[in-house]
Symmetry: C2
């Protein structure tokens, strides 16, 4: 039995600050004993992924980082749009991979049938559509938020809370965060208190599926 | 922050042996730190649930046990058919509940699109159909296995392994165990070695979703 399970985690935004780079990994290590996370980020992508074009540009870089992580027990693509996840499954069949999007979507479904997405785009990330389909009642892009960096200001946080309240008023039973930048600002619990709905955090979600892979093989 | 998360786990087969009664709980406690499980079982149901009729009979008893567990942080119905899970959600809206079936089905989907069920009935438990739909390529009932007790013999184990090999030959990419009795006999890892496919264990699966509820609220 292996003592720990080594994860290579891919951040899809260029981060020079080590603490920020490792933040998703730290959330995962804090919540899932036995998982050990090393993070790497995409080069030359300072605003991350926030459009079909920026997703497209990211995919070859994600495959390159996967190659660097090829001796890990598992890969996490820490982005709600699951960029490259299907390709990694094809090109690296021996290494399990999970994306934040498919994980969040699978979990959100457990908490209700009227699901509001809350992210940084005015379209739903592909995996959310695939998994949740007609259960999605709103695709919420908070005012003034155009990329993950915009979430990291006080104004950004307020705008997210405002949008969540609107989604509650629309009849949402659960809010599925649709950008891992929402995990970076650790807003899920704040929102749960503000709107009294379950709010599904993408980094906790991807960590959960990685943990399953770990205990399955223990 | 609560130190531990108290779970009431419902076994759908009458068990007088305390070790057997607590076995699913022990698997969960061993794999998910912070979860604390108390198990109760249905009275007068010595062969468990293995048909629509035995499911029907079980549901009022499950609601009665839920009432006894009403001060717990969460309920697990440890049966692949999720008997009573929807009713508990309606009648006890303040206590989260998870079933083995919906959990196993959600996880199995992550491991392939051709999914074989391996259980004790010749029909698929409802939650498996609901979640997996046309991804189910076989509903495997091993020869000589008619209820959970039949799994607990050497002959029963051999019959399960034989069926799993047939499912691999059919092109299954993943085997979703469709009876928590398969967890009781701890056969998932044996099967993985025998057939070299991922095999999804129902008790680990329900535990995973309970653990998510725990860390979400920590």
């Amino acid at each position: 039995m292996k003592k720990s399970f080594e994860i290579g985690l891919i951040r899809v935004v260029t981060l020079e600050d080590n603490q920020l780079l490792n933040l998703h990994g730290k959330i995962i290590e804090d919540n899932f004993p036995g998982l050990k996370v090393e993070s790497k980020c995409l080069p030359d992508q300072i605003t991350g992924i926030h459009s079909p074009e920026t997703k497209e540009i990211a995919i070859p870089k994600i495959l390159k980082l996967t190659q660097e992580f090829k001796n890990k027990d598992m890969i996490i693509v820490s982005c709600a749009d699951d960029p490259g996840v299907e390709l990694i499954r094809k090109e690296f069949p021996n290494i399990p991979v999970v994306g934040a999007g498919e994980s969040t979507a699978a979990l959100a479904q457990k908490y209700g049938t009227k699901i509001a997405l809350l992210g940084i785009t005015d379209y739903a990330p592909d995996p959310y559509i695939e998994v949740m389909q007609d259960k999605i009642i709103d695709i919420g892009k908070p005012e003034g938020i155009n990329c993950t960096l915009d979430l990291m200001t006080e104004e950004g946080r307020k705008s997210v809370i405002k949008k969540a309240k609107e989604q509650k008023a629309m009849g949402a039973q659960v809010i599925a965060l649709a950008c891992t930048g929402m995990s970076t600002i650790e807003i899920a619990k704040v929102l749960e208190e503000e709107v009294q709905l379950p709010v599904i955090d993408p980094v906790l979600s991807e960590g959960l599926f990685a943990y399953f892979e770990y205990i399955r093989n223990k």
